[in-house]
Symmetry: C2
């Protein structure tokens, strides 16, 4: 191991072992979040450690605590951004389509695509025990993502608000379950592009099965 670069002096100052930045990092929050994202992307959710994130940011293992409290706090920040990105992807997917059913279909594909493209981040987002589960911003971000389904689905049902809630829960459950099962390799390998494409085709069929061509389901 032993990441820390060798020496690189700091002008007259003391030749600290951490050359890139001095005592005051300046953007440590962002650096830690970026480092965490990198770990999640490279090695998955389980590989994340606070110390490794600190190492990559070039600070001591105790430094993150001043900004995020603890490891859960840091991952919570990562999860919030993940939910924001997911919600954006869902909204964008829907905005690109015309019919209500096509919007929902596109959202489903976008959801699983997001999960398969950012597995570590996705798993972290839904690992409450590793997050500050009752964080207000986290809950808000999560609700916003779920809300993206409701918005589209409300048009589909056209019925009561309760019916829309049910339909949204159904849609979210289906794509979330599919994504989770896919990530656990229940639908075949997900490590290569070919496998992922095949899985997305399976998803397409699943969505067509549950939400048939417009009209058959009122």
């Amino acid at each position: 191991m032993k990441k820390r670069a060798p020496a690189a002096k700091r002008s007259t100052a003391p030749t600290r072992p951490r050359p890139e930045v001095g005592y005051h990092h300046g953007e440590l929050q962002e650096a830690l979040i970026a480092a965490s994202e990198a770990i999640l992307a490279e090695q998955g959710a389980e590989a994340f450690t606070l110390r490794e994130a600190a190492r990559r940011a070039g600070v001591s293992p105790a430094a993150p605590s001043h900004h995020f409290g603890n490891a859960q706090g840091l991952l919570t920040e990562v999860a919030i951004r993940g939910y924001d990105a997911l919600a954006g992807a869902l909204r964008e997917a829907a905005s690109g389509k015309q019919g209500v059913r096509d919007k929902l279909h596109a959202q489903g594909l976008a959801y699983v695509d997001y999960a398969l493209r950012h597995p570590g981040r996705f798993q972290t987002m839904f690992a409450n025990k590793r997050l500050v589960a009752d964080d207000a911003r986290l809950k808000q971000a999560s609700r916003a993502a779920g809300h993206a389904f409701e918005v589209v689905v409300a048009e589909l049902t056209g019925g009561t608000a309760k019916e829309a809630k049910t339909a949204a829960a159904a849609a979210w459950s289906t794509v979330h379950g599919f994504a989770k099962l896919a990530l656990e390799e229940k639908f075949g390998s997900v490590n290569n592009e070919a496998g992922r494409r095949e899985i997305m085709m399976t998803l397409d069929q699943v969505l067509n099965y549950l939400w048939p061509a417009s009209g058959t389901r009122q």
Copy 2:
């Protein structure tokens, strides 16, 4: 912390700190599995540690390695039994109903009921990274559970095998996603019986929405 009794010098007359069993436990495999199940039930999947399981079984932290190789091996055994129990619950749920749609509906309820009643075990079963993912018996047990859906769904579609696969993937995805989201508190509190009952009612509506009364879906 510091569980182990204080000192109990060994001298010639042992007074071993571990009174219950001697060097040879006799049923250590089962004891370790039972201990692991207890941890999962009491404190959830993330709380499991190999050392705690060994502690509860009354052996040293190194003992489990002789039977399960490592922590993943032990959890794999737990997961296999969990899949067996799940498959049994799914088969039983279906056997109690007549119509095909009612069978599928009952299976869906049974699946989520299982997840909510054994959250730690359920989360472990679907945490591949904590298991020996390529273990033959584990894969077989997992496939058997998924197969329980196919058996029922095949009747529903009555079409090609591919169609049955799609329908089974849809059913599994939906209930799995619902269970996972419920466990992550996306549908409200799941810690009390009242919350759980409400969630099961939501599930009932979701299933009715996706698989409407028999006939409307061919």
